[in-house]
């Protein structure tokens, strides 16, 4: 086999794209198969045109040059600079210059574009004011013109025009931009984005003149020239740079009759071949699918495709060469020091596109997120003043990553101290688990190191294995990070059910299932044997019934209680409960319990207060006032609980559900009864609401507050349900939260009368019970609710789903079936049997040791 004679390859144009083609051929080892000649019209070898304006801020031609100076020589490539090609002779396969004729087997046109100068009287070709901004030579001309000049104008407010304005500023001229369109960067930005950019730029001392078409340029009075606009206004200046768009440099191709687009551009196919298969065109001179790509990245892609096509004959069929398939025109740049980003369908012109906008006029920051009509994907974005979210948004757009439930969170600023955003908006350094000091960054690292489910991440980082307060947040971060990495997140509640809590809730209601055993029998996931291959058939019928676990059991117990409200201590339900529900008290760190009787609205008579004191004293309990306006009695041993409750119930107390995922308290201020400012009876309303909803079991605990006036002394806006009195009735706030992630409640309805207030809360609570995830507070539920607050209003107030009556009737059932769980248990000797520390010994646990502090007992 003989080595084939190398072929002649000619590349016309030594701009960024032409240079990249040569690099690509070198990388592919194809230079051995070609004798390559490159023609460059300019005197400089390829340089970085993207950073051209830096030529005026310290970088010279050598700094801007691309690649090593001896790159071409090293690879035996002939570089003929300053030699313009005048003609292509396709018949003889020759390229003609004023210095000779050069034969080619293959030819690549990388001739780029030229600046468009509008036909304006006084700015005809050859006029000294006709400056453009594209090449190093152009910049030298501008620099010369700037000598003794005070003011410079750029015609064109697009990307390049603003770059040129920056260049004029660097020359210490007073810079102005004149734009024909009503906004800056009309292609990449929308109106608001353009406005934000304009304000930023004006702040920097650049004059911006929009909606201005220059009709004539004449001699000026105070400056060299006067530009007169279509409306008769004028602007005088010492120099004018035209940067009003580019046109493909297709003259050579036109003259040799290659196919040209209607408005210019050399037509190419996916391999970047022109209508003559031996001639390629790449970069800004090429027209693909009737489009010119005026950015460097698509030009580089074309260079790669052409390199593949040219190298094709010298390599095997695999892998197939890259083919040009259009390009993403998303851009991120700093113009005059201002961040500007534009992604995909920035104008939201796609059918059904939905936009989210964030605008901060104080700092001129603007963000717009364009989402597909189905709300699932990012299809575009506009960013001005801050490009911090550009990379994330581009990831979403390019990879079709599923949007978070609240897409706006992607563009909302994260506020320190009150991170009320979804997991994705938390910064890397955000602490997720404060017990083990685990940050979001650490969780991401663990995921990247291969952990791919919540369990693995918990055992690796120890996150959420301390107090457990971060469980929901951790899950949300993990789910989000896994989803962001394209891992399909399993929403099964646990290994025993392939359902979400919401699905289990529907099953229970629709099928009327009243016990956990029935539910797991009918709908449980079959358990996998712990040994051997999971594909091995299970032997015999001995597969034991699956037991469930500490995740699904309490979740189902809560669902059953929400639906049917049977006593949680009934034999069928008691094994499902967390220890707090089982013993209807709150377990403390030494295994003793705290007792919290209900004090509705925080109102208590002196004699009942005395009862609490007496019980506390009698049983040696540590006593503390809670944040929910009641009294917590700590240190009760298991076997003491029934006696304590017998005494409390005898004195008229009932259980406070402090142990349950259920209504806790309705806090209140003293209201119009006593307060000079109160406008409604907040205590009366709080007592009514607390008695109405006590015993309602829900996905998580629920706290209320009622304030008697707008001074808001009950802090209702930090509660799941907050009621604030007005002159005309009540304002209702929902989905607030204190605790780890404080969130202000949102105003849900105004000036409600008592009846409307109660109806609205009935529906709201039951809709939450029905649709929330396990252990999800109303605040997180609300943040993840598709459609947000408006949707919630539609459902609850306007009854858009027609659920209103059903929700109210369900609430009536829960209210109607309320009974004090402690009273129920005290009546049943079987239930009381559980309240023994030891089944075979009545003595207390000797390991519970207490010591005295500030006059009370506490764990030693």
């Amino acid at each position: 086999m003989t080595t084939p004679t190398p072929q002649d390859l000619i590349i016309i144009g030594n701009g960024m794209v032409g240079h990249h083609l040569v690099e690509q051929l070198v990388e592919r080892g194809s230079v051995d198969h070609f004798r390559i000649t490159v023609f460059g019209e300019e005197r400089h070898p390829a340089y970085d045109r993207v950073h051209l304006s830096e030529y005026f801020s310290g970088r010279d031609a050598a700094d801007l040059a691309l690649g090593e100076a001896d790159f071409y020589a090293t690879h035996d490539i002939t570089l003929r600079l300053g030699e313009a090609v005048s003609r292509i002779d396709r018949e003889n396969r020759e390229v003609v210059t004023d210095q000779g004729r050069y034969r080619y087997d293959s030819l690549v046109l990388a001739t780029g574009s030229y600046p468009f100068v509008p036909p304006i009287p006084g700015a005809e070709t050859g006029q000294p004011n006709r400056l453009v901004y594209r090449t190093l030579d152009d910049l030298d001309t501008i620099r010369a013109a700037a000598t003794d000049a005070r003011r410079g104008v750029v015609v064109g407010g697009g990307l390049l025009g603003l770059e040129a304005a920056n260049a004029l500023k660097s020359l210490e001229l007073e810079a102005h931009v004149v734009e024909f369109a009503p906004r800056l960067m009309p292609v990449q930005l929308d109106d608001q984005g353009g406005t934000a950019l304009r304000e930023k730029i004006e702040e920097l001392g650049v004059g911006v003149h929009l909606n201005r078409a220059t009709t004539e340029i004449t001699a000026g009075d105070d400056y060299r020239y006067r530009m007169t606009f279509q409306d008769g206004e004028y602007l005088e200046t010492d120099l004018i740079v035209f940067s009003a768009g580019i046109r493909p440099q297709d003259t050579l191709a036109r003259e040799c009759r290659l196919e040209i687009g209607e408005r210019g551009g050399i037509v190419i196919d996916d391999e970047c071949r022109t209508s003559d298969p031996e001639i390629f065109a790449i970069g800004e001179c090429a027209l693909w699918d009737n489009r010119i790509f005026g950015l460097v990245a698509p030009g580089y892609t074309m260079a790669r495709c052409a390199a593949d096509a040219l190298s094709g004959p010298f390599r095997g069929p695999e892998p197939a060469g890259e083919r040009f398939a259009g390009a993403d025109m998303s851009t991120k740049l700093k113009l005059l020091g201002v961040d500007v980003g534009s992604i995909g369908d920035a104008h939201g012109t796609t059918d059904g596109a939905i936009s989210y906008r964030y605008s901060d006029e104080a700092t001129c920051v603007y963000r717009r997120l364009v989402v597909s009509g189905d709300g699932k994907r990012v299809i575009g974005a506009v960013l001005v003043g801050d490009n911090a979210s550009y990379d994330t948004l581009l990831q979403y757009a390019q990879n079709g990553i599923a949007l978070p439930a609240d897409p706006a969170s992607l563009i909302l600023p994260s506020v320190e101290g009150a991170p009320t955003l979804g997991a994705d908006a938390l910064p890397e350094g955000a602490t997720i688990c404060s017990c083990h000091n685990v940050t979001k960054g650490k969780i991401c690292e663990t995921i990247d190191a291969g952990a791919c489910d919540l369990g693995a991440i918990k055992s690796e980082t120890k996150a959420s294995t301390g107090c457990g307060g971060c469980t929901a947040l951790l899950k949300s971060v993990v789910d989000h990070e896994l989803e962001a990495r394209g891992v399909e997140v399993d929403h099964s509640i646990c290994e025993h059910f392939t359902h979400t809590r919401q699905e289990l809730y529907s099953i229970v209601r629709v099928e009327g299932i009243k016990t956990f055993s029935e539910l797991i029998e009918k709908h449980g996931a079959s358990s996998t044997p712990s040994l051997g291959s999971s594909s091995a058939p299970k032997l015999g019928s001995s597969s034991a019934p699956i037991l469930g676990c500490d995740i699904c059991k309490p979740a189902v117990a809560s669902i059953l209680a929400s639906c049917f409200n049977e006593p949680i201590t009934d034999a069928a339900h008691v094994p499902l409960q967390d220890t707090n529900d089982t013993f209807m008290a709150n377990m403390q760190k030494n295994g003793t319990y705290s007792v919290v009787p209900r004090i509705p609205g925080g109102e208590i008579t002196p004699s009942k207060l005395r009862v609490l004191g007496e019980v506390g004293e009698k049983y040696g309990l540590y006593t503390k006032i809670t944040g929910g306006q009641r009294v917590d009695l700590f240190g009760a041993r298991l076997e003491q609980l029934p006696d304590i409750w017998s005494e409390l119930i005898a004195e008229g107390f009932e259980t406070g559900h402090a142990y349950g995922k259920s209504l806790r308290t309705v806090k209140s201020c003293v209201g119009s009864t006593w307060c000079r400012y109160g406008v409604q009876d907040s205590v009366g309303m709080a007592i009514y609401l607390e008695n109405r909803y006590k015993g309602l079991r829900s996905p998580h605990k629920i706290k209320f507050a009622v304030s008697g006036c707008t001074r808001e002394c009950a802090e209702a806006q930090s509660k799941d349900v907050g009621v604030i009195a007005t002159e005309n009735g009540w304002n209702l706030y929902v989905c607030g939260n204190g605790g780890m992630r404080p969130r202000h409640g949102e105003l849900f309805a105004t000036d409600l009368d008592d009846e409307a207030l109660i109806r609205t809360i009935d529906r709201f609570l039951m809709f939450y019970v029905r649709t929330a995830d396990r252990l999800q507070r109303t605040s997180v539920w609300r943040e993840n609710l598709e459609g947000g607050l408006d949707y919630l209003k539609d459902v609850v107030i306007d009854d858009s789903l027609g659920l209103g009556e059903e929700l109210e009737s369900q609430m009536r059932h829960v209210i109607g079936s309320y009974e004090c769980e402690w009273a129920n248990a005290l009546d049943d000797p079987e239930k009381l049997k559980r309240f023994r520390s030891f089944v075979n010994d009545s003595r207390p646990d000797p390991d519970i040791i207490v010591t005295e502090e500030r006059g009370q007992l506490r764990p030693a």
Binding site: S530, V574, T579, N840
Partner: protein, 125 residues
């Protein structure tokens, strides 16, 4: 029954009565005292009717919280293996051998149990 009686006779040294069947709570746990050669121990007794093994006894003492609470945890299974979750910090312990699922180094002691009529016997051998 005859087999069980025979076993009783040969192993009277180690099988001790612990409590009664009526003391147990199905699908859950209770605590009981027992005397071992090393001294008195609090054991957590779990009763899982219908399972291949119905009775389990492990330490009632939770090594993570240092409180005696294991019997008050929720019983469940991890891939078919019965476990109890500590009611305080939620670590899981395998009922058959006391092994902590989250921490290899931690294991509760465990003892065989069986019914003798209405009595629950524990093997302290």
């Amino acid at each position: 029954m005859t087999a069980a009686t025979a076993q009783d006779q040969t192993m009277t040294q180690t099988w001790q009565p612990l409590c009664t069947k009526a003391d147990l709570v199905a699908h859950s746990g209770v605590a009981a005292w027992t005397e071992t050669p090393e001294g008195p121990v609090q054991v957590a007794v779990f009763y899982l009717p219908g399972q291949a093994t119905e009775l389990f006894a492990v330490d009632h003492h939770d090594p993570f919280s240092d409180a005696n609470v294991i019997a008050r945890g929720i019983v469940g299974d991890i891939q078919g293996e019965p476990v109890v979750a500590s009611p305080i910090y939620k670590q899981h312990f395998r009922l058959k051998d006391g092994q902590c699922v989250e921490d290899e180094a931690v294991r509760l002691r465990c003892w065989p149990l069986r019914f003798d009529g209405e009595r629950v016997l524990i093997d302290l051998g």
